[in-house]
């Protein structure tokens, strides 16, 4: 069944890549963006990354690089929702295989203008018409389970799709009740969104669902810009010489991420740190408790990445801006951006 339906679920399809994407480690600068992506790779529970910034700053490059960087997952062969164990496969998929295979962490593109059917899945018209069978054709949410869902130009996404995503992102389950079908399956994924703020704002409800948010700008100094250009040019024109060097760096980073995942549960979190989290969020007046929770998780992931045993205030400060800046009430007149406000408050509250 997979072989037949697979070609139909095409987001922006990955053509059989003759080339690997641009390596993650080779991205010049944009440290905050890279840090945020590494943190969600360590702890997917942080809940996604939003990257907002100018065109041509490497937003899409970073996401595609991330896909190549991520460790593989174990999944049941042929399961449309990448279940880890055969008993977790949804019964509608009629998966007969019990073999566990390793496959790359799914990174699924959600294109603009995508239809609801394509996102949540729908009646498989093909099978209904040709064989008279009532079958479910899984959508993008199914494919993204246990992986990443990437939305480029997330701020231009149509509202009804946003509503859908919010619903599923919250419940971790996709429920389809349409055309005589009643289907549910797990849909736990990390949302990665990117966009250009000049073209429109994001609804606060969706904004809040992203664990971390970073703003990227084109590098201002010429040396950095030149370095970006040279690396990219080396990748384009001297691919064979360029890749081995950086793939080694990517491999080292992957090992660090894996080690951090193992270390994460053993971390000790002092009570004073929880206190710090709370006082920072109170001082900033961020809505709800999601801010505190994300801040703490991100700080823990940061500590794990640095391979230390105890989470400290320094870790908290390292992630505060990206965990909180998008949760403040928006001030239309504050042109400096909320990131600056958070940074200022961090210095005040946590000296």
């Amino acid at each position: 069944m997979q072989a037949e339906t697979a070609p139909k679920i095409h987001a922006l399809p990955k053509r059989t890549p003759s080339r690997q994407p641009f390596p993650f480690s080779a991205i010049v600068g944009q440290e905050a963006m890279k840090q945020a992506m590494v943190l969600t790779a360590i702890d997917p529970g942080i809940g996604g990354v939003l990257v907002f910034g100018d065109r041509g700053t490497g937003k899409s490059t970073a996401v595609r690089a991330l896909a190549a960087l991520l460790p593989e997952i174990d999944a049941v062969e042929g399961c449309p929702v990448n279940s880890a164990r055969p008993d977790q496969c949804p019964d509608w998929a009629q998966v007969t295989a019990t073999q566990i295979i390793r496959k790359p962490t799914p990174v699924v593109d959600l294109p603009l203008g995508v239809t609801e059917d394509r996102v949540v899945g729908a009646l498989d018209i093909e099978r209904a018409l040709t064989r008279g069978e009532k079958a479910f054709e899984p959508g993008l949410l199914a494919r993204a389970n246990r992986g990443y869902l990437y939305i480029d130009e997330v701020n231009l996404l149509e509202d009804h799709i946003v509503d859908l995503l919010l619903d599923v992102a919250q419940s971790g389950e996709n429920v389809v009740e349409r055309e005589g079908l009643s289907i549910r399956h797990a849909a736990r994924f990390v949302l990665v969104g990117s966009g250009n703020p000049e073209e429109g704002e994001l609804r606060p409800q969706l904004l809040d669902r992203f664990g971390l948010s970073v703003e990227v700008t084109s590098p201002r100094d010429v040396d950095t810009r030149v370095q970006v250009i040279l690396r990219r040019d080396a990748y384009e024109t001297g691919y064979d010489a360029f890749m081995p060097e950086w793939q080694a760096a990517d491999g080292a980073l992957r090992d660090r991420i894996l080690a951090a995942r193992v270390a994460l549960p053993q971390l000790t979190t002092p009570n004073t740190l929880l206190h710090d989290c709370a006082s920072l969020c109170i001082a900033l007046g961020s809505d709800g408790l999601r801010g505190e929770l994300t801040l703490l998780r991100a700080a823990r992931a940061q500590a794990a990445f640095e391979a230390v045993q105890t989470v400290t205030r320094a870790h908290l400060k390292a992630v505060a801006v990206m965990a909180l800046s998008h949760r403040l009430r928006r001030d239309p007149l504050d042109e400096a951006g909320s990131g600056v406000r958070v940074a200022r408050m961090v210095d005040e509250v946590l000296p």
Partner: protein
């Protein structure tokens, strides 16, 4: 644009379509454009034509329904993007964001090149930014007469030789630096531009039969790639102020160096790019870019008729493309009468034989209501003389709005703050009553009024309405946002809010109700990207006429 530049651009594209990513061709359909597009046959890629309404299954391939039904097994068709091609996109100014995102993605993966035929007729129309940023070359055929043109020489053999030479062409060591610096100086933020310029320089060298890129290649590359991306001098200038003056690379190399390629003064490249296009075109393109950025993404659109949700319309025969939903009952009803015939001719005893022609798809119509937000200046300076007229105009518009079932909201500002006199409503009676009771007098908290109007617009949009702001004021703002009587601060606040309103993309119109038109208000309207109407001594009826015209009724 001068015709002499055009053949070169096309030749370069034919040499390295993958590296240059493509061409943004701004021209009306006609003989001149045909002459240019005819040269595209020299590209080493198959030419594939696309149009803005293209569905996903055409791009990526999908189930071929007629073949599937005929053969009784799934037959898939190949998509247009399945192999490297020169994609010619007609009516590119109408390409929806979804398609432009897909095309941008296709361009990021290597292999494709895109020729966007942009027939933009009006200011603010044009190619989506996602594509203009990626396409290397830009040609504008506006104002080129047929008599100025000539057959474009595309020597296939020479092009093939250049193409073969291309992989071996080397760049001088500081070329990347010079091109990057020049781009920064021209205010080009995107880092794709220098990469494209490097590709162009390589192609130029290959075309000249040289193994290495020299100065003239770099200059021409900067001209071709940076010309249309550069910001006008005034806007680009502040960016490089904080930097120390760039050291002249020429000083680092030995004096009287004969090898010019070792030192490429980027000023030269900047000049080349600036010279490439007339100044007014730069300004026009920038204005268009800003307008699109502001208006392009207004979330919920106005009335639109789609096939996904909304009020159902009768279903009709159609193809099951992306986005279409099948109307099962109608499809079965269409198929039912033919069953005995089909069973006989297909010699099949299947229960149901459905053909592609039976398929009926659902259609929906979805409209979003418009809400007119009036921000009325009721201050002392404005009151008495003009307020009555403003009220009259609003009342006239209300009548029109009532006929179209538009919503109306009313924001008044006077004294030290603004007040939402009437949240978005359709009640004519209520609006009139509130309007009549609107008192005048006090200071002019222009900024506060704009802020409230903007907030109302944003809220309305979140509820699926399409807001428009009409700001009626005499522009003499003298109360700052914090309520203090500080004229300078008040001006500053108002200008910042004007920018903020523009950023939200809400269409707006500014009506100057002062006895003498205020230049500062016109300037503010420009910042808001809103039409400005000065109406000294206008009566209510004329005001209303101008207003409806500006709002595009």
């Amino acid at each position: 644009m001068d015709w002499s530049r055009i053949p070169l651009a096309l030749q370069l594209l034919a040499i390295d379509p993958e590296g240059l990513k493509g061409l943004w061709l701004r021209a009306r359909a006609g003989a001149v454009r045909d002459r240019v597009t005819a040269a595209l046959t020299a590209l080493p890629l198959p030419v594939v034509r696309l149009h803005p309404g293209l569905a996903d299954d055409a791009l990526y391939g999908g189930l071929d329904l007629s073949a599937t039904l005929a053969t009784g097994r799934p037959v898939t068709s190949r998509g247009l993007l399945s192999q490297p091609a020169a994609l010619v996109l007609t009516m590119a100014e109408r390409v929806p964001p979804g398609l432009s995102a897909r095309l941008a993605h296709a361009l990021d993966a290597r292999g494709h090149c895109l020729i966007a035929l942009d027939e933009a007729a009006e200011e603010g129309e044009g190619l989506p930014l996602a594509l203009t940023d990626r396409l290397g070359l830009f040609l504008d055929l506006d104002g080129i007469a047929w008599s100025d043109t000539a057959e474009i020489p595309m020597d296939h053999k020479a092009l093939a030789e250049a193409r073969a030479l291309l992989p071996t062409v080397t760049l001088p060591p500081d070329a990347a630096r010079a091109l990057t610096r020049a781009a920064a100086e021209l205010g080009i933020a995107s880092l794709r531009a220098p990469l494209l310029a490097m590709a162009a320089a390589r192609a130029l060298a290959a075309w000249a039969g040289r193994m290495s890129v020299d100065d003239s290649d770099l200059r021409q590359a900067a001209e071709l790639i940076y010309g249309h991306r550069a910001l006008p001098v005034s806007e680009a200038a502040p960016q490089d102020q904080p930097e120390p003056p760039p050291p002249d690379p020429g000083e680092e190399t030995p004096q009287d160096s004969a090898d010019q390629s070792q030192s490429i003064p980027e000023e030269m490249l900047v000049e080349a790019a600036r010279a490439a296009l007339p100044a007014d075109l730069l300004a026009r393109l920038t204005a268009g870019r800003a307008a699109r950025a502001a208006k392009g993404a207004s979330g919920t659109g106005a009335a639109r008729s789609g096939n996904r949700r909304g009020r159902p319309l009768p279903s009709r025969p159609g193809r099951l493309g992306s986005g279409a939903r099948i109307d099962l009952v109608a499809t079965l009803r269409a198929a039912a009468p033919w069953q005995p015939l089909r069973r006989r001719s297909a010699q099949s005893d299947a229960v149901l034989l459905v053909r592609a022609s039976d398929i009926r798809v659902k259609r929906f119509r979805e409209t979003s209501d418009r809400v007119l937000i009036f921000a009325v200046d009721a201050s002392g300076s404005s009151a008495f003389a003009r307020l009555a007229e403003a009220k009259g105009a609003v009342e006239l518009l209300l009548a029109a709005a009532y006929a179209r079932r538009d919503h109306v909201a009313l924001v008044a500002f006077r004294g030290t703050g603004a007040e939402l006199i009437l949240p978005p409503t359709r009640s004519l009676v209520q609006t009139k009553r509130r309007l009549a009771g609107l008192p005048g007098g006090g200071g002019t908290p222009l900024a506060a009024g704009m802020q409230l109007a903007m907030a109302t617009a944003t809220q309305a949009r979140a509820r699926g309405l399409t807001p428009t702001i009409a700001l009626l004021t005499d522009g003499r703002g003298n109360i700052a946002l914090d309520g203090s009587a500080n004229r300078a601060q008040a001006d500053d606040d108002a200008q910042r809010l004007a920018r903020a309103i523009r950023a939200t993309g809400v269409p707006a119109v500014v009506i100057d109700t002062a006895n003498r038109p205020q230049p500062s208000l016109a300037e503010m309207a420009r910042r808001m990207d809103a039409p400005y109407l000065a109406l000294p001594r206008a009566d209510a009826r004329r005001l209303s006429g101008v207003l409806s015209a500006a709002l595009g009724d």
